[in-house]
């Protein structure tokens, strides 16, 4: 009798934990997942309104980086479409024109992407995986390969 009761308690407790975790995970997934789009995907999707958190990635277009005090504006491109981006803060060490970048933030009312975070974590080829995939999807991968490293 006793071991059976104990097992019942443990199973009950385990189910409770599992249930709580499932509920937590489901609510967290609803609000906290950040989708990644390439500039082309962003241009095609009309349903993404201002204020929705997302990531976009591509290359920092050459000659578009403009600094004004602590605010930087630049254009992210997959060589088919572009997105203008503004960011206030210190750029990551690996941020450079012509190189891959991933920015997190949301669209402003004017269609300008307001970045809260600029990620330039690179693998040894200096190209974030998402950016490489976005470039392959836009059919511009070869051009990007030739871009100066």
């Amino acid at each position: 009798m006793k071991p059976k009761r104990r097992r019942l308690y443990i199973i009950g407790l385990a189910l409770l934990c599992l249930g709580a975790a499932t509920a937590l995970v489901l609510t967290a997934f609803e609000d906290n997942i950040v989708f990644f789009y390439s500039p082309t995907e962003l241009a095609e999707r009309q349903d993404i309104g201002p204020g929705r958190m997302m990531r976009i990635g591509g290359l920092v277009a050459d000659g578009t980086v403009v600094k004004n005090n602590a605010t930087v504006s630049f254009t992210v491109t997959d060589l088919n479409n572009t997105v203008p981006v503004s960011y206030t803060g210190i750029l990551p060490d690996l941020f450079r024109e012509g190189q891959g970048v991933v920015v997190e933030g949301s669209l402003g009312p004017d269609g300008r992407f307001m970045a809260t975070e600029v990620l330039a974590k690179h693998d040894e080829n200096y190209m974030p995986k998402e950016v490489a995939d976005a470039l392959k999807a836009s059919g511009q991968w070869q051009h990007a390969e030739e871009a100066p490293k």
């Binding site: 104990r6 937590l24 997934f29 906290n32 997942i33 989708f35 990644f36 602590a70 060490d93 693998d123």
Partner: protein, 662 residues
Amino acid sequence: MIPELGNFALALALIVSFVMTGAGLAGAQMGNAAWMVAARPAAIALFGLSSIAFAALTWAFVVSDFSVSNVAANSHSLKPMLYKVSGVWGNHEGSMLLWVLMLSLFGAAVAVLGDNLPPGLRARVLGVQGGIAFGFLLFILLTSNPFDRLDPAPLDGQGLNPLLQDPGLAFHPPMLYLGYVGLSVTFCFAIAALIEGKVDAAWARWVRPWTLAAWSSLTLGIALGSWWAYYELGWGGWWFWDPVENASFMPWLAATALLHSAIVVEKRDALKTWTVLLAIIAFSFSLLGTFLVRSGVLTSVHAFATDPARGLYILLFLLAVIGGSLTLFAIRAPAMKSGGLFAPVSREGALVLNNLLLSTALATVLLGTLYPLFLEVVSGDKVSVGPPFFNATFVPLMIPLIIAMAAGPLMGWKRGDLAGVLSRLKVAGIAVGIAIAVTWWAQSDGPPLALLGIGLAAWLFVGTLIEFAERTRLFRVPLSNSLRRAAGLPRSAWGLLLGHAGVAILVAGVTGSSAWTVEKIQAMAIGEAIDVAGYSFTLDAVTEGQGPNYQYRRAAFTVRHDGKVYDVLEPEKRFFPVERNETTEAAIRSTFLGDLYAVIGDETPQGTWVTRIYFNPLVPWIWAGCLIMVAGGLVSLSDRRLRIGAPQRKRATPSPAPAPAE
């Protein structure tokens, strides 16, 4: 010549590990004493051969032998000696070699220190250990040989990622690996126990020191990595829920659960199958961590390699080890008798709760880490799961865990008295009230959840002290008497005190740094001052200069507090010409209540400088808490019960092990 020697040693090691597996497992199965004995020298020889290979690679790095392609790709003649040496494991091939070296070290340790192990169990443990080494050595030789030559040899190397050119690289990966690989010993014991069909208190006493050692190294390794990220990345944060961080955190959660459930096996002879399962899970997560990091499926600075062949091999290896051990578990576990009855409210019950909550937390972290991979495979959508997800899932699970952590140690074995425990925790309740009141008085503008965090920390800290005070009968008998009692307590009691108190301090630090961080980003002209958290930072100068293999730009901030000069902070931005890369070196001044943290950025067109200044409250408490936890683990490790020679099986174990009951 020396690299060839290393290569040859690796090939020999592969053969030796094969012999070790065969001799250990088959010998124990057939009861062949000579074979079983042979597993021991094999383990020691494996360690010797791995050391030779590792020394050969280190030599190639130290003398900058660029005909070795690994050295050419990851080193440079101008690199300071510290980074030449630590660069040995700052790349994929070398880090795998380090993994094998640690693995063989543990194998040799079992062989040398395992005199009192029953011969059958020892042979099986060594056999499984040899099998894991075989898998990794084959992986190195087939896909990631660190001794591959380049012809013609380049004049100089390509250098090492500057982010890795930091003393952190010298300590973080070895400590982490020590933890990862330490769990392999526990895993081997679990597999051996499954084969023998026997788990008893003596088994738990052999397993516990290995778990403790692995857990302590893992804790220290993760803390070091976090500290490194904190000062090197210049983002002011210390934990980002990055997939690679999670990869090391998941085995830690499993090891923590294992550490506690092994106590129940040892003391009460209960939870045996669960403990064996946890040992398998903990090591599986170590392997999964390696797979996630090394295969490059997750983009990260840690992804040294993105070679599909390697990923495929590790995946197959992972399937073989995890699938095989879980299958063995499914076949053999039902045959194990469970012992020790206990009521739901008891010390055992509290430890079960600990295990359930830690496992659930582990599951949420796993889900958050793998969900982006899963979704990309299924739907092609790319998502990232960041800190908000983990804050919403992991943190709520920790709240009941911490509440129970204070009460558990006060409960009796078998049947606890919850009302009695709660009345003994009255003082802790009062401490919670005081801590919340003081926090609210000091920082009324923070999020309300922060008050909860500080309250929990106070609850756990004081609750842990109460437990210790009761053991030493503090305030009930004269102080000298209490001190004598404290000195006479088993080391594991000290381990509990330090471990739990460390967690309490850690919780306070985590709460403070996530609730009340002050961050200011601005463009500053020379001579301009800015106020952050009651400190005034004046940008006095920006100078440039030359380091050993980099150029730097250094800012000097004079920090004033109450009008008096408090300190000068000098953050740097370094440019490494060989790698054409920059790094940020934050300047940090720690105070009791928090860190002053300054970062210098680029020059603006207006001739001012972008600066980022933080006040990170209670961050030093995080490091202190982790160190105290590690100290707890080490003190507990020195407990006399766990000392070599202490554990003895009551009955002599006949070898070979009795045939498994089907």
